[in-house]
């Protein structure tokens, strides 16, 4: 009962819903970047919603089933094959023993989610099977030949379909201003909300870096380190925003001008270098 990694692709990680509540140990929540995709894929294969999945960045992941398994692939959209035959994402797929599931380069989005009936049962660390790339906790990134043990499937799969709901090239996310919007000029806050922000290639699960106008500070000095969360928009000394992802540090010393509302942070898992992110003001 396992999926064996034939080819790991660019970066493929085991993820679940993370390890919340350990901030006082210096451990962040981590977990799947696109949690919506995780829930959909787990639903399709009959898993509890937080079962561990594979989050594959870009294309190139190939997995071979060592026994009959049901799988579902969600998140990004693009070519998928089983033993070379095109199959659909967003629905349950049956793999016979020896068959190979291969993920192509996404045509929309950036990160694929692969769930398997029974879930991936690598040993949990601090209560979670997630890989935290910043803290180096949890299972190692997938490598060729790695064996992903699979748990006992629950009864039944879902015959629903989840077509990828992704925009091409531009996303808008809602943002609540604060806690430190008063560290910036009113013009900077207006720039944040009106500018198209281009996604920098140096983006990862720790943060999505954005390029656009420099956001001007209204006050100098250093902020005392304070707790941050997924979706916090930190503004570095260059004036450019970084939206923190699931592997963000527990505390940060850059002022946070606003925080992306939690459900919208999933969209940031799927933006690609050069894509545009827009912020729309949301009043909590």
């Amino acid at each position: 009962m396992s999926l064996r990694v034939l080819e790991p692709g660019a970066l493929s990680l085991v993820q679940d819903l993370g390890r919340p509540g350990l901030g006082d140990l210096g451990v962040g929540p981590s977990g799947a970047f696109d949690r919506r995709a995780l829930r959909e894929a787990n639903h399709l294969v009959g898993n509890p919603e937080g079962a561990a999945i594979v989050e594959a960045l870009g294309g190139g992941l190939a997995l071979v089933a060592t026994a009959a398994h049901v799988v579902a692939v969600t998140g990004a959209a693009g070519p998928l094959t089983v033993d070379g035959t095109p199959v659909n994402s967003g629905r349950v797929l049956a793999l016979r023993r020896g068959q190979v599931l291969r993920l192509g380069v996404p045509e929309l989005g950036l990160r694929w989610t692969v769930a398997v009936g029974g879930g991936i049962t690598v040993p949990p660390v601090l209560g979670s099977r997630s890989t935290d790339t910043l803290a180096a906790l949890g299972p190692a990134p997938l490598s060729s030949g790695a064996e992903l043990r699979v748990g006992v499937p629950a009864d039944g799969v879902s015959l629903e379909a989840y077509p990828a709901a992704l925009a091409s090239g531009e996303v808008t996310v809602r943002v609540v201003l604060g806690p430190r919007d008063d560290w910036f000029t009113p013009a900077a806050v207006a720039d944040l909300l009106s500018s198209p922000w281009r996604v920098d290639p140096v983006s990862d699960r720790i943060g999505v870096r954005l390029d656009g106008p420099a956001l001007e500070r209204a006050r100098d000095g250093e902020l005392e380190s304070e707790p941050v969360l997924r979706g916090s928009i930190q503004v570095t000394t260059s004036g450019r925003p970084v939206v923190l992802g699931p592997d963000h540090p527990v505390t940060g010393g850059y002022p946070v001008i606003g925080v992306v509302v939690d459900p919208d942070t999933d969209l940031l898992a799927q933006v690609r270098p050069g894509d545009v992110v827009r912020f729309r003001r949301h009043r909590a």
Partner: protein
């Protein structure tokens, strides 16, 4: 203390100083509060959190006594001389003041098991390195701002390194992997290299 907005799933308690933050953190710890230098993050629905905070008194810290932890240090860090020059002290005097200080774990962050220690001698305040090192070895003892800290594992880092310890800051094989928790008292002890 002010309650600042922090998205749709949290609020940030902005406190007057580190002591007030620790009192709020102690009072709200069971609700999963995370402590910063002078702030406390609470996760949940902001409206619920505002009610919770309104119905909560900050804890009296005389009831909350941290553990005392001794950390043995060999003071031979690569930045010891530069720190001494910056502080206008001899290297020996930097060591003496680091050892004599009553350090308290102010909060955690940066990496699993990394504790920001406050309460140091004010003469030991130094800026971070202009260019962080790509790799700092586990056990390196550093200074940055008014804090001291020990790197639990190899990582990049911008703290000024004055020594090293083999104290196990982070060990996943233990029930409680972190050696240091907010409120603990830390004494550095000089040992020979």
């Amino acid at each position: 203390m002010r309650i600042l907005p922090c998205g749709d799933r949290a609020v940030l308690l902005d406190c007057a100083d580190a002591a007030e933050a620790r009192r709020w953190h102690a009072a709200l710890r069971e609700h999963g509060a995370t402590l910063g230098a002078t702030t406390v993050l609470l996760r949940g629905r902001p409206a619920d959190l505002r009610s919770l905070v309104g119905a909560t008194e900050p804890a009296d810290l005389t009831d909350v006594v941290g553990r005392e932890v001794e950390v043995p240090v060999v003071y031979d860090g690569p930045d010891l001389d530069a720190v001494a020059r910056h502080c206008g002290l001899e290297p020996d005097e930097v060591v003496r003041r680091h050892v004599a200080s009553r350090w308290t774990v102010a909060f955690a962050g940066f990496a699993p098991g990394f504790a920001y220690l406050s309460g140091g001698d004010p003469r030991l305040e130094v800026p971070r390195l202009e260019r962080p090192r790509p790799r700092v070895e586990a056990g390196s003892v550093g200074l940055a701002g008014r804090f001291s800290g020990v790197y639990p594992r190899p990582s990049p880092g911008g703290w000024r390194l004055i020594g090293r310890t083999d104290a196990p800051l982070w060990d996943l094989a233990r029930d409680d992997p972190a050696l240091l928790h907010p409120g603990d008292l830390v004494r550095f002890v000089e040992v020979a290299r």
